[in-house]
């Protein structure tokens, strides 16, 4: 199975963010976070984490989620978890 690269993860995150934030055509970058992206409130955040877990088949520990500052951090976390399995 091909290794999960940061670019691949970011690409696969696009439809998830489009759906969670209800913004078809939205494009997120590594720098995107709640302060600079439309509709990103706490309810959307719950959906994002749920969908990312489901899609990449990874489970996040509480401590891991606490340190995320932007989409880039999330991408790196997913890549790290996928490597470990």
């Amino acid at each position: 199975m091909a290794a999960l690269t940061p670019d691949k993860v970011l690409a696969e995150l696009q439809p998830i963010f489009e759906e969670a934030l209800d913004e078809p055509g939205l494009s997120v970058t590594r720098e995107s976070n709640a302060t600079n992206t439309p509709n990103w409130d706490s309810l959307a955040y719950i959906s994002i984490i749920e969908m990312v877990s489901h899609h990449f088949k990874v489970r996040f520990a509480l401590a891991e989620l606490q340190d995320l500052k932007n989409v880039g951090d999330l991408v790196d976390l997913v890549v790290a978890k996928a490597d470990r399995t």
């Binding site: 969670a20 706490s42 719950i46 749920e50 969908m51 489901h54």
Partner: protein, 610 residues
Amino acid sequence: MNLDQLSLDELLMKRKSLRRQLRAQLTLHPVRIAVLGGSTTSAIVELLEILVLLSGFAPSFHESEYGRFYDDPVHDPQSLIDFRPDIVYIHTSCQNVPPPSPGTTEAEFEVQMRSQLVRFRAIWDALDQNLACQVIQNNFELPPHAILGNMDATASGGYSRFLMRLNEAFAEEAGRRPKLLIQDIHGISARIGLDNWFDWDRFFSYKILLKPAANYAVALSLNALIRAIYGKSRKVLVLDLDNTLWGGVIGDDGVDKIQIGRETPIAEAYTAFQEYCLSLRNRGILLAICSKNMEEAARAGFEHPSSVLRLEHISCFKANWSPKHENLLEIAKELNVGTDSLVFVDDNPAERAIVEAQLPDVAVPNVGSEVSRFASIIDAGRYFEPAGLSKEDLERAALYATNAQRVSHEAKFSDYGEYLDSLEMTAEIETFKPVYLERIAQLTNKTNQYNLTTRRYTLAEMESLSTSPTHICLYGRLTDRFGDNGLISIVLGSQHADSLHLDLWLMSCRVLKRDMEFAMLDAIAHRAAARGIRFLVGIYVPSRKNAMVADHYERLGFTSQPAPTGSPEGATFWVYDLNGYSDKNRHIQCQPHETPTLNPRNVSQAESLS
């Protein structure tokens, strides 16, 4: 699209686009749902919205502030009152009930249990007083940890025992309060498994107690309850025969070689499935057969000595070589139900696919081909969820059987009037009685064909109309020599000056062409005239299903009127001048009216008073 075709995957990953797509549907029935949370409610509301949209409703939601499932209704109900909910859902869990301390005595256990019950009763009383709407209350799952091990279930200090005792008390309360429905979280969580129930990470992060799959199970149950409240639960289980109700193909193997009974594990499995189907029939779900077989061979299967199901349990039998979807349409017609009342079970995925494609309203659970799993899969679909269990419900299959007797009796008469007289029909037509209100509300919500306006009313609304001085609310029960048809017609009118507007007129299709509508007309005419009402005003509002009653008022002798501006599209208006009214019912014996019969003296007296 219906629920069976939607995967959990799609539901989790495409909520917002699904919602947008479903909201765009026409003909959605609005429903207002207030959710009172003991934990964060956003996740369950999100899922419930999609499911309820799929069921043909347009939901509006009101969520209480976090954790205020008690304070809002009891101390601060104004926002709830302003929202005017049709349904209030109380989303509580074991987290909302403090555990007894391990050293609690039996006496203290009872006292603490009562005080929790009193707390919830205060919520239900406050809701009843301020809103008088339907309430769905969660009972309690077992606790996440058994602090006392096995003794947690038996000791007076055991949390598990405490919650189970509270659940029992809730069950008793629900028996006393017709507008309170308990959602069996205890059962739902048991089927999912407690280890798959609590989501501690999400609870600590956002106070969402349940895992996504657990949330989904609760949303499915809520959706089924809401459908049940509005009379949309399904009524008929249509079954294939070969390898669905018995092992083997009866046309090839012969009745002696089909696998049913106790001889082999496969025979046992099919026997168990037949027993499951029979239990459904015994609680009022009709069974029908749809099989590709010679009719004789198909029927022979039920004469196998070990067959649990017998021909008398089957309300409609179709065994032929026609496409199954055509047979399903016939079954729906013969049983007088819509295709949206059918659940089709067949081990053959090709047959399932054809029915799914041709009849999107029919529920086609993916039962697979392993008979030992059929019952669990059907059960999980919650197609037949009840909101109440009346005598009529439990005896539905028997009612259909006596109807078959009536049909064959009719064949003996050339004069239809003679046939009707020979039925020796008697009717009880009276104003709403409290003991019948649940059945009245149920009939109102599920009758679609013989329904002039398709207006829906909740139990609470019927309750208040039944005591309103400006309304006349009548029910009709019909009995004949073959049996009691039960409560089968409702006429409801609101008084405006000297007219009675007939807001609701419906009748069960079970009693068509018996002239019951004439008996109802006589009854409403007499009661209206006794109040000094001069005119009956009838309205027909066309719907997808009620074309059969377009001429109802014409047949009753009403005169057509132009429709007022602002009337619904296609609606027709009718008027009946009660002056000189003479009874129309010729074939049904009615109990004497409580009010004096119409005569010219009364009418002119009433006229001089108004």
